[in-house]
């Protein structure tokens, strides 16, 4: 296959992913809402017996030849005829485990709404592996003990190949329940033709020269973190006092007429159209926009910091093939497999060694050399995680602090 084919297909893949997998889609807000309401009201009945000794539980598990994997759409490599997933096929060939791959996760809230009533009633979800973004919904699943603690000794490749940015994350210390599938950065996206200068700092989002052309995110986790970067505070270790201060600088930004709009994923259209010149942005979106022909657009990790988020592989309780799920994790965490997936998905690869594999074996320098797919170490050194909430009350306090910024 020629180099151009490879890139062309990659871009298409990334492009369709952008179309079909908005991270905070408004279309899906109504979907599953009924289910969530029912889940909230469901009486606490028929709880299955709680597993307390997970070591003994793992010891009881018998290897199976099946594996049901629930993932987001267009989040894995696809064969050139578009019908199969080469890495999954190779996994089946090597292990004899048959994979059922379901692209059923549109966004975290609605997927949570779908599985929560099932898990609450103690029934199996039917999935052996699900992929959830770090944030309140993942935390909530962990708090309710709905994710199986991993048998780490079965996944030696993780310790061998995982990058430091995905090891021991604050939302799941020691990777006890999760391993990263892909990561992404929230930094600043801008159009140098309109800003007329290069952007390096968070302060540029408060620059009066760009008044009315600055985009901010409506997601309160995202925008709250950026308010803190402006003040030089690390959100993961921040206090409610810091939140108040961050909300105040964000309110000030709004009061001065700097903010054009608080966007969901539609910010990328506004950036492409030139309505906004500088905005909070996801690295993957800028990569896709460049591929679509908006080659001016740039992404930067500001010097004060940016946010790294992770989509995590987890095993929900009640999974009937947990050993197969571990086999898959171990299989994924190699430069070859992670590299193959990465060459299609173009987010941030959890296996740094995959960069060499993509460059020298797949021979796709466009992906291998992209700082958006393999961010340089100095960039990763200044990124922060989302705050990992420890209780609903704490989460609510955060919401009450930052919601008025967006909703006012």
């Amino acid at each position: 296959m020629s180099q151009d084919d490879q890139n062309g297909r990659d871009n298409t893949q990334a492009f369709y992913r952008g179309l079909t997998q908005p991270r905070l889609t408004r279309q899906n807000f109504l979907r599953g809402s009924g289910a969530a309401l029912m889940a909230a009201l469901a009486p606490q009945i028929a709880r299955a017996e709680k597993v307390t000794d997970w070591k003994a539980w793992w010891a009881k598990q018998v290897p199976t030849k099946e594996f049901v994997f629930a993932n987001w759409p267009l989040y894995i490599d696809v064969s050139s005829d578009g019908k199969t997933h080469p890495t999954l096929n190779a996994f089946t060939k090597q292990t004899g485990i048959k994979v059922t791959y379901d692209e059923v996760i549109q966004d975290d809230p609605s997927f949570y709404a779908k599985v929560a009533p099932v898990l609450k009633s103690g029934s199996p979800t039917g999935y052996d592996m699900i992929v959830m973004t770090d944030g309140w919904y993942l935390t909530e699943m962990l708090m309710q003990n709905w994710l199986v603690p991993l048998w780490r000794e079965k996944v030696p490749n993780f310790d061998k190949y995982a990058g430091s940015s995905v090891k021991n994350p604050p939302y799941d210390p020691g990777n006890k329940h999760s391993m990263v599938w892909q990561s992404g950065l929230t930094g600043i996206g801008y159009n140098p033709k309109l800003t007329k200068r290069e952007i390096t700092s968070i302060d540029d989002l408060w620059d009066p020269a760009f008044a009315g052309h600055i985009g901010m995110f409506s997601d309160v986790n995202e925008i709250g973190s950026f308010g803190m970067y402006k003040l030089g505070i690390n959100p993961t270790t921040s206090t409610p006092d810091d939140w108040q201060k961050a909300a105040a600088v964000l309110q000030d930004q709004k009061a001065k007429g700097l903010v054009r709009q608080y966007y969901d994923q539609s910010y990328i259209n506004a950036l492409e159209n030139g309505d906004i010149w500088i905005t909070m942005a996801w690295s993957g979106d800028i990569y896709q926009a460049n591929g679509k022909g908006y080659t001016d657009l740039k992404f930067v990790v500001p010097k004060e910091g940016a946010t790294i988020w992770h989509d995590n592989m987890c095993i929900p309780v009640g999974a009937s093939n947990p050993l197969s799920a571990l086999d898959w994790m171990n299989y994924y965490y190699t430069p070859e497999v992670a590299g193959l997936v990465e060459d299609y998905v173009n987010y941030i690869c959890p296996v740094p060694a995959a960069q060499d594999y993509i460059l020298n074996v797949i021979k796709d320098p466009a992906v291998a050399n992209s700082p958006l797919v393999f961010p340089p170490a100095d960039e990763l050194a200044r990124v922060h995680e989302f705050r990992a909430f420890t209780s609903y009350a704490e989460y609510q306090q955060w919401l009450n602090t930052f919601n008025p910024v967006v909703q006012g």
């Binding site: 809230p109 909530e140 539609s266 967006v406 006012g408």
Partner: protein, 286 residues
Amino acid sequence: MRRLRGKLAPYLLSLPSWVYLIVFFIIPLASMLGMALAVGDPLSGYTISDNFQEFVTGFTSYEDAFARSFWYGTASTVITLAVAYPVAYWIAFYGGRHKSTYLFLIMLPFFVSFVIRVLAWEFILSDQGFVLGPLKAIGLLPQNFHVLSTQWAVIGGLVYNSFAYYVLPLYVVLEKIDRRLVRAANDLYASPSTAFMKIILPLSAPGVFAGFLLVFVTNVGDFVNAALLGGPGTYMIGNIIQDSFFENQDYPMAAALSSILMLMLMIAILLYSKAFGTEAIQEYAA
């Protein structure tokens, strides 16, 4: 026996609609009200109590959003009526044998997904887009002028999306008006405008009324237009409810806000129908 069956028949025949109402209206409504009164959190679960606090907090903290939603809803409905009436009138009176084609053309854009249509407006109205760009280039508009991210973009989006829903009920009543009445008015030396004011407008009142309900209720609760076309300070109550439900996972608040909105809409509709409602329509018709 036969008499009894005769008496029961209408009830038995209406049974399916009763079941429908209970399953799809009464039960959801009751569970929403129950949720609004519940205390608890998503982790430990909820218990229904007699806690009305969410109603008070919900109303007082989001007064602005409620007021804004009613303002956007009213403005957009009135503008939609002003735009849709002439169109429906023209189709009904001058559409000739192509009436159904024209109606089909009005419905046509609605075969495209709602969100895609709103996103298309984002593209059309963008600051340097093919509408505003040339106007700015020839100096008709200042460089900093923008439509998106203002309340007028939101109201405009609402008008666009409710247009067809107003044309259809108006068309139905206008189409039914007996043309001989207009001719009689002309014979009695009424000018065309007098004939319109005294005959056509009163007879089309039921369509105006029905369309108003349809459009107003939908628009007040809308959240997509505000989210995509609005800016800071255009948050509607629909957006708040959606945030409370999904982002905040504050189910009691979301349910309380929905209940308040429903109550306010019911009051608005009652007042409206008292003023221009069914009785007035019957008077006109008589």
